[in-house]
């Protein structure tokens, strides 16, 4: 078990900069998710931690120790590949025992540990079968077991759930969390699925275009996105982000949206936007569950009128797409009342709205 310090790491492939000046502190025993869209540099970051990629600039320390001169074989890092990289020509037993046998551990000891791990992963009944005969779900378990058996100092998982069907994925999510508690190991988990990251990780590092956008606990990231990218990326259904020009008309600050919609700003969101006088265009963010229908309940809330464009069932809720001129708002239809074509009023509570600078994407005003 190790802590990991990533200090100002940069990775270039020729001219292309895959990771830019990235720093992360991961404490011993922590479960950290690297989250970002495909091609953002999260997998490269993980490969650098594992030693599969050289670091162009900066350093990675394990318990304060730099391992860059240590061979991959001797780093003792557990790694679960996206497609599991099961040795399909060997039996399940031989897969599990590989990491022990190459270290010349005595045969009875290998047998004891393999059977314990097979029990834990509930694949004991398949030990003597060829690994190629396993189902995807069992391969997943075998891949985790094979890495865990060598008791690595850290555990890296590259999108381990992406090949599973929905039902088993939900089960495996809960199982992984239990395993992490049992192993007590530092785990780093790469994913592009924000729901997976939210539900599993102690901390999430959101990466975009090789840059760290935010690092914090799931709820911290959800409630307090530091920039527009994080606000857009985290949350399902997504946050409404309304982009426009800030303009003052007869004493009222308005967000003028392309297509003609005007959103009068008031209360906290207004003071957030005005906190930096250099800002001329902004993005207003509001989560669908914060929008309510009908007349405004407080003077400072922002009341808008629109047409219901589409109503979708998303899980237990119905999600309405409300169109105001050319701008769409997502809101939950809590009472199952709306139908397509309805003209309705809805309100954005000013204290729940977030303000971003459109140019830099930076969050404006005070964090909650």
């Amino acid at each position: 078990m190790s802590s990991i310090q990533i200090n100002n790491v940069t990775k270039k492939f020729g001219e292309f900069i895959a990771v830019r000046d990235l720093s992360l502190d991961i404490e011993e025993g922590e479960f950290v998710a690297l989250l970002g869209p495909s091609g953002c540099g999260k997998t490269t970051t993980m490969n650098m931690i594992a030693g599969l990629e050289d670091i162009t600039d900066g350093e990675i320390l394990f318990d304060g120790q730099n391992l860059s001169d240590v061979r991959i074989q001797d780093r003792n890092i557990g790694f679960v590949f996206q497609n599991y990289a099961i040795f399909t020509h060997l039996t399940v037993y031989k897969n599990l025992s590989y990491g022990l046998e190459v270290k010349k551990i005595s045969k009875p000891e290998v047998e004891r540990r393999v059977s314990a791990m097979a029990d834990r992963m509930s694949i004991s009944h398949r030990l003597n079968q060829p690994a190629s005969s396993l189902s995807v779900n069992e391969m997943q378990k075998l891949a985790i077991g094979r890495s865990a058996i060598a008791e690595p100092r850290i555990f890296l998982l590259d999108e381990p759930l992406s090949n599973l069907d929905a039902g088993f994925r939900a089960y495996m999510r809960a199982e992984l969390k239990v395993l992490q508690h049992e192993f007590g190991q530092t785990m780093i988990y790469v994913t592009h699925d924000q729901i997976e990251a939210m539900s599993l990780a102690d901390k999430i590092a959101i990466i975009d275009q090789g840059r760290l956008m935010q690092y914090g606990s799931p709820l911290d990231i959800y409630n307090n996105p530091h920039n527009r990218f994080v606000a857009n990326f985290v949350g399902s259904p997504r946050m409404n982000l309304i982009d426009g020009e800030l303009r003052e008309e007869s004493g009222i600050l308005k967000l003028m949206v392309h297509g003609g919609a005007e959103i009068p700003l008031s209360g906290k969101v207004k003071s957030d936007f005005t906190s930096d006088s250099a800002i001329h265009s902004g993005s207003l963010g509001i989560r669908p569950q914060d929008i309510y229908f009908g007349k405004k309940k407080k003077a400072e809330h922002i009341e808008l009128h629109g047409t219901v464009e589409v109503v979708e069932r998303v899980g237990p809720k119905r999600l309405a797409y409300i169109q105001v001129l050319e701008t769409n708002f997502l809101a939950f239809d809590d009472q199952d009342k709306l139908s397509v074509g309805d003209e309705i009023s809805f309100c954005l509570p000013a204290d729940k709205c977030l303000a971003f600078d459109l140019q830099s994407g930076r969050r404006l005003g005070e964090m909650q």
Partner: protein, 352 residues
């Protein structure tokens, strides 16, 4: 008149039997077909398209028996999961391909092209080759090609499965809007339950080659007709408790429950399964009429809501609670069920 009617169609494969399938899709309907992987969804599309002929039963296209119609005569277009764009052609050439193939006049082609590129917002990528396009752009071109033909109905086989989550949400709404504005008939296949439920006017749930249920998404979600449907619809899945309905058919007994569950109406006694969706469990003993004590196992904070994994005996119960909350792992918690939304299935898995 229905756009597509399938009556008692059966198709036997060496290791798999599809059907009998009975379904009808009305003109201008967005019809979803959902089922776990390998349950015969794509085979149904092939039957409609005419790529495969049924061993038994009949298929009607716009009221005409399709038995003697070949693929071209059926006039149905399809968007494939892997898009099947022609890599050596530009976006424009891909879109007009079905028209030039049929020898449609130049003026007609440019009219259709203008229409398609406007509704799909693809004017700016028409000159690119598929290799130069992003996933979403390729998707649009594939839709454009299917749209250009102006066919009777469109079949879509997991058309957006390859896109990332945000883009999928966007395309979902866009597809729906497109379908409605053009009053097109869509048959949409996916193994993503959330996607099909969100997009469709009506849904058919396919399990093991059979239609398990057909209805509006609200219906299928709120009143699953069988245990099999209840298991595949909803995420996280419905909590299921196996037990017995008492002789007087007034209560349900389960080893894991500390008391019996009073039934409001049950029709038969014997083996049964009680189902409760995660959002229909309250973290409050007094709210519902039936309460249990569970142990909190883990918390998944998802921002807008929270998933709580709790242990009842050795069974994991998933609870979906609104908002954000902090619960101590290992702590005892009283819960109760929303009695109006409890589902009961008999020993054959039929809804009671």
């Amino acid at each position: 008149m229905n756009a597509i009617d399938i009556r008692g169609a059966v198709k036997t494969y060496p290791e798999f039997k599809l059907g009998p399938i009975d379904l009808s899709v009305s003109q201008g309907e967005f019809f979803g077909i959902f089922g776990p992987p390998s349950t015969g969804k794509t085979s149904i599309l092939k039957l409609i398209l005419g790529l495969v002929r049924p061993d038994e039963g009949e298929i009607f296209i716009s009221g005409h028996n399709a038995e003697t119609m070949d693929v071209a005569e059926r006039d149905i277009s399809m968007v494939f999961q892997n898009l099947a764009l022609f890599p050596h052609m530009t976006g424009r050439e891909n879109i007009v391909f079905p028209l030039t193939e049929r020898g449609v006049s130049e003026s007609m082609i440019s009219e259709r092209l203008d229409f398609v590129s406007e509704v799909l917002h693809v004017s700016h990528i028409l000159h690119k080759n598929p290799a130069q396009m992003s996933g979403g752009e390729r998707q649009r071109i594939a839709l454009g090609r299917a749209f250009a033909a102006d066919s009777r109905a469109m079949l879509l086989d997991e058309p957006i499965a390859a896109l990332d989550a945000r883009l999928r949400e966007e395309m979902r709404v866009e597809l729906k809007r497109l379908q409605r504005e053009n009053n097109q008939t869509f048959v949409y296949v996916s193994h993503d339950e959330e996607e099909v439920m969100a997009i469709s006017d009506r849904v058919a749930v396919i399990i093991d080659g059979q239609i398990a249920q057909t209805g509006t998404p609200d219906d299928v979600y709120n009143r699953p007709e069988s245990l099999a449907v209840a298991k595949v619809i909803g995420s996280p899945p419905m909590n299921l408790f196996e037990g017995q309905v008492s002789k007087d058919a007034k209560s349900f007994e389960c080893d894991k429950f500390s008391k019996t569950y009073k039934l409001e109406s049950a029709t038969s006694d014997g083996q049964a399964t009680l189902g409760v969706r995660p959002e229909d469990i309250w973290l409050d003993a007094t709210k519902g009429n039936f309460s249990l004590s569970v142990t909190i196992s883990s918390i998944e904070p998802l921002g807008g809501y929270t998933i709580i994994n709790a242990l009842l005996d050795d069974q994991i119960i998933k609870i979906r609670a609104p908002g954000q909350m902090v619960l101590e792992e290992g702590a005892k918690q009283d819960i109760s069920f929303d009695a109006r939304r409890v589902h009961l299935f008999n020993s054959e898995g039929k809804r009671q």
